[in-house]
């Protein structure tokens, strides 16, 4: 499986021995943005933590390139995959610059005092994300959206080719959400070997921006395919009440279409 930065074989995930889905295979391709969709409690965070190596899989194994992650040390894993969690409960006195610089942890030797390098990387990434004004502000005096951007900046500072993000958009305003997904898609494409897996609730944006969607619904086999394929049916299986939701928004057959390899009626017949 050369050229596949992240894949899983016979994977079964869950807490305390209870598997959330029938075991499945996954292969994430170089350069793609994958949106992880599913209802609350469907297992998005559990899957992300398992892919990052924070939780052992119940069965099967996860591979970074050719290496099963069980063979990698925590530090090696952190150099290959960066995970940003939704609500880490950060200390309010931590400065923006410090949070982002902490992403350098797996690259810095434990003993060395490389504060200048940390700060330089933090400044570069804050600039890329247009967050320079947050560098010297404590996290306690930031909005949720600002903290969320810095959480992503922290993961980017880790400089790992695999980026696993748990709800990176939830606190952003609508245009910023679209901009962020666009940024992530470009980030994944810009260097060979990169892949972004982002758990999001913004299904509409996911259908527009993602290269592929991974749909989770507990008990069923996950669906992994293009947004067009997802919109055709699996979306409605994964989210009971989805047609009613689109009805409530006034989405009717033919009014909203998903453009892709073919044109597909999003609301279905």
């Amino acid at each position: 499986m050369t050229g596949v930065p992240l894949f899983a074989r016979g994977l079964s995930v869950g807490h305390g021995g209870a598997s959330l889905f029938p075991s499945f295979d996954l292969a994430f391709h170089s350069g793609e943005l994958v949106c992880l969709l599913g209802r609350n409690g469907a297992g998005k965070t559990t899957l992300l933590k398992t892919l990052a190596g924070l939780m052992p899989p119940l069965r099967g194994s996860v591979f970074f390139g050719e290496n099963p992650i069980s063979d990698l040390s925590g530090r090696e894993r952190a150099q290959r995959a960066a995970l940003s969690l939704a609500d880490p409960g950060l200390p309010p006195y931590l400065l923006g610059r410090e949070l982002v610089g902490l992403g350098r942890t797996p690259h810095a030797p434990w003993f060395a005092s490389a504060r200048e390098t940390d700060d330089a990387v933090a400044s570069r990434i804050l600039k890329e994300l247009e967050c320079e004004h947050l560098a010297d502000r404590p996290l306690g005096r930031m909005s949720d959206g600002e903290r969320q951007r810095l959480g992503l900046a922290r993961a980017l500072a880790q400089d790992a080719p695999i980026l696993l993000l748990d709800e990176p958009l939830s606190h952003l305003d609508p245009p910023a959400k679209a901009k962020m997904l666009g940024f992530l898609r470009d980030w994944a494409r810009s260097v060979s070997g990169r892949v972004v897996v982002a758990a999001v609730h913004e299904v509409d944006l996911a259908l527009c921006f993602a290269d592929r969607c991974l749909l989770l619904s507990s008990g069923a086999s996950p669906f992994f395919g293009t947004p067009e394929e997802a919109a055709l049916g699996p979306l409605r299986t994964a989210f009971p009440g989805w047609p009613e939701y689109w009805d409530a928004l006034g989405v009717r057959k033919g009014r909203i279409r998903v453009e892709g390899s073919g044109t597909v009626d999003a609301a279905g017949g």
Binding site: K49, S73, L90, L94, E98, L102, T105, F111, A112, R115
Partner: protein
């Protein structure tokens, strides 16, 4: 870097000044010249002022220096690992655990061969105290895995302290009067009784603890983000936490063995240091904790021996002075915290 490049030189200056002050103050006030001569040679080595300096003042001041630096870092380690701004060696029952270790050693002493005790010098006391501290710390850790708010954790620490107190009381019942007196004096806490050999053992333990804490600065920094995020950055969180708490036990245990329980220094110093440095990076904050802790304890000790209105040097209990600074500081942090959350 810190915002102020002069901060560390100034802190160092504060430590040196507090050291001189601590050496100068006492039941016999010494002038600047006598202190200078005593420290750097010159003058008559048999002069009373020189003997006082060598045998009483210097050991006390060195003990304050070492204990202050060690307690400051021990408090910092506890506060980061329990994610509670109100954690400190005394508050989590760790000092009481050390006290239990000391009491157990005093009780067991008549049963041990005197030759062995003589040969080991101050080491058994340090070991018993550090073991007691470590046991209390692991108990707090086990409780902390189940309760996650810092108020419950502090209550648990209080309960551990009470339980240790009760156990110590029972042990004292079986002890003779002389040993009881030794323990009671120890229990007040103070730096006056620390001898040179004890200082050497304490400095060795604290030195090892401080170097280990500094060496672990990087993963320590990552654990500020919480367990999951730290694990995602490659830190083996559980093993790391136990390591850090063992270092804190060594620091707090060795210091408590010879100085007795010292209140509030471990709790207040990390907050003071953070207010001065304005960064959370342990690579900057831990050295700051050492300097602030040393300066603070030297100053408290100097005040406890400061000349009173009649010119005579007093001998106030050290813990009265540290509590005078510490208790309002804790109240301030409590009020500021609840003010932020409401």
């Amino acid at each position: 870097m810190t915002k102020n490049p002069l901060l560390f030189p100034l802190l160092l200056l504060a430590v040196v000044s507090a050291f001189f002050l601590d050496v100068a103050f006492g039941s016999v006030s010494l002038g600047a010249r006598e202190v200078w001569q005593g420290l750097f040679g010159g003058g008559d080595p048999t002069a009373l002022s020189n003997v006082i300096l060598r045998e009483f003042r210097l050991p006390r001041a060195v003990a304050a220096l070492v204990a202050g630096a060690g307690l400051g870092v021990a408090g910092f380690l506890l506060q980061t690992q329990f994610r509670s701004p109100l954690a400190g060696p005394a508050e989590l029952g760790v000092s009481s655990g050390a006290g239990l270790g000391v009491a157990a050693l005093l009780l067991a002493e008549p049963l041990l061969p005197p030759a062995l005790l003589d040969a080991l010098g101050p080491w058994p006391l340090a070991a018993a105290s550090a073991l007691g501290a470590g046991a209390a710390m692991l108990l707090v850790l086990a409780i902390a895995a189940r309760v996650w708010d810092s108020a419950s954790l502090l209550l648990a620490g209080l309960m551990i302290a009470s339980a240790c107190g009760a156990a110590i009381g029972l042990m004292q019942y079986f002890t003779d009067a002389a040993r009881l007196k030794v323990y009671s004096l120890w229990g007040f806490g103070g730096l006056g009784g620390v001898t040179w050999p004890q200082n050497a053992v304490m400095a060795a333990c604290v030195g090892v603890g401080l170097v280990a804490a500094l060496a672990l600065s990087r993963p320590l920094y990552a654990t500020l983000l919480g367990d999951s995020a730290a694990a995602a950055l490659g830190v083996r969180v559980r093993a790391f936490r136990v390591t850090v708490l063992l270092i804190a036990s060594l620091l707090a245990g060795a210091i408590t063995a010879f100085c007795g329980p010292i209140a509030f220094v471990g709790l207040a110093v990390p907050h003071l240091a953070r207010a001065l440095v304005r960064r959370s990076d342990p690579r900057v904050l831990q050295p700051a904790c050492m300097l602030v802790g040393a300066a603070l304890l030297l100053l408290c000790d100097a005040i406890s021996h400061a000349p009173g209105p009649g010119g005579e040097g007093g001998a106030l209990p050290l813990n009265a002075i540290t509590s005078l600074f510490g208790a309002p500081a804790v109240l301030y942090f409590l009020l500021r915290r609840s003010g932020r959350s409401s």
